[in-house]
Amino acid sequence: MATLIVALIVGAILFGVGLYGSLSQTNLVMIMMGVELILAGAMVNLVAFWRFLHPEAYSGQMFVLIVMTVMALEMAVGFGVGTARFRYKGSVEMEEARDLKG
C-alpha cells in the first residue's frame, strides 16, 4: 500500500511541477518540457495502478505505451511547428506571439 501511495504522490508532484513549468515558461521548448513532466506523472500513476491494483488488466500497460507515443509525437510536431515559427520569426518565445488576440 505504502508503495502505491508513494508512487502516486510522486506522480502528483510531477504533475504539479509540470503544470508549473507549462504555465511559467516563455519558451515553446520549455513548455513542452513541462508537458513531458505531466505525462511522466501520468505514466507513474498508470504503472503503479497496474502493478499494485490491477495487474490482470494489461490495458494499463498499453496505456503507458500510448502515453509514451503521445510524448514522442507531441514533441515531434512541436518541434515542427517551432521550426516553422523560428524560420519566420527568429524565436519561439510565447511572449512574442501576441499579434492575434481579442
Binding site: 508532484i13 504503472v47 503503479a48 491494483l53 514533441m75 521550426t83
Partner: protein
C-alpha cells in the same frame, strides 16, 4: 518495504530533476535534467517490477531528450546553449497553480480507498500479457497509434520544411 524505498528514492530523483528543469538557467541543462527525470521515472517502473516499460522508457527518453537539446540550442541561437537567461513569466501564480495542482491530486490519493494490493507478475508473463493485449483487445488502439505517428510525421514535415518556389 525495500520496494517502497526504491520507488520513493527514484521518485524523489524524478521530482528533483523535474524541478531543476525549470530552475536552471541554461537550456541544455534543462534538457539534461529532464532526461534524468525521465530516466528516474523509468527506474521507478523497474522498481515497481514493470521491467519492459521501464527499459522502454529509459531508451525512448534518452533519444528524445537529446533531440530536444539540439532544438533548444538551435532556437536559442546559442551555440553552447549554456547561456544563462530568465525565461519565465507569471512565476508566482504558476507556482501557486503547480503546488495547488499537486496538492489536489495528493488529496485525492488519500481520499480514495484503493483496496487491496495485488501480487507481482513475473516479467515474462508481463510481456506475454501485453502482447495478447496488443494483438487482441487493443489492436485497434495500437493501429490508431501507428496512424497517429504517420500523421505526426506528415504534419511535421509539412510544417517544418522550407517553402519551395
Amino acid at each position: 518495504m525495500l520496494q517502497t524505498i526504491f520507488v520513493g528514492l527514484f521518485g524523489i530523483a524524478a521530482i528533483w530533476f523535474g524541478v531543476v528543469v525549470f530552475t536552471t538557467s541554461s537550456m541544455v541543462r534543462s534538457a539534461l535534467a529532464l532526461l534524468f527525470s525521465q530516466a528516474a521515472v523509468g527506474a521507478m517502473f523497474l522498481a515497481m517490477q514493470t521491467e519492459f516499460l521501464g527499459v522502454l522508457q529509459i531508451m525512448m527518453m534518452g533519444t528524445e531528450m537529446s533531440i530536444m537539446a539540439i532544438f533548444m540550442v538551435m532556437y536559442m541561437m546559442d551555440p553552447g546553449g549554456l547561456m544563462g537567461m530568465d525565461m519565465t513569466h507569471q512565476k508566482r501564480i504558476s507556482q501557486v497553480a503547480g503546488v495547488l495542482g499537486a496538492l489536489v491530486v495528493v488529496g485525492i490519493v488519500f481520499l480514495v480507498g484503493w483496496g487491496s494490493i495485488a501480487g507481482s507478475v513475473p516479467p515474462d508473463q508481463q510481456v506475454h500479457g501485453l502482447g495478447i493485449e496488443l494483438m487482441e483487445r487493443s489492436m485497434l488502439i495500437f493501429e490508431t497509434a501507428g496512424i497517429t505517428i504517420l500523421t505526426a510525421m506528415i504534419a511535421t514535415i509539412a510544417v517544418a520544411l522550407e517553402r519551395r518556389q
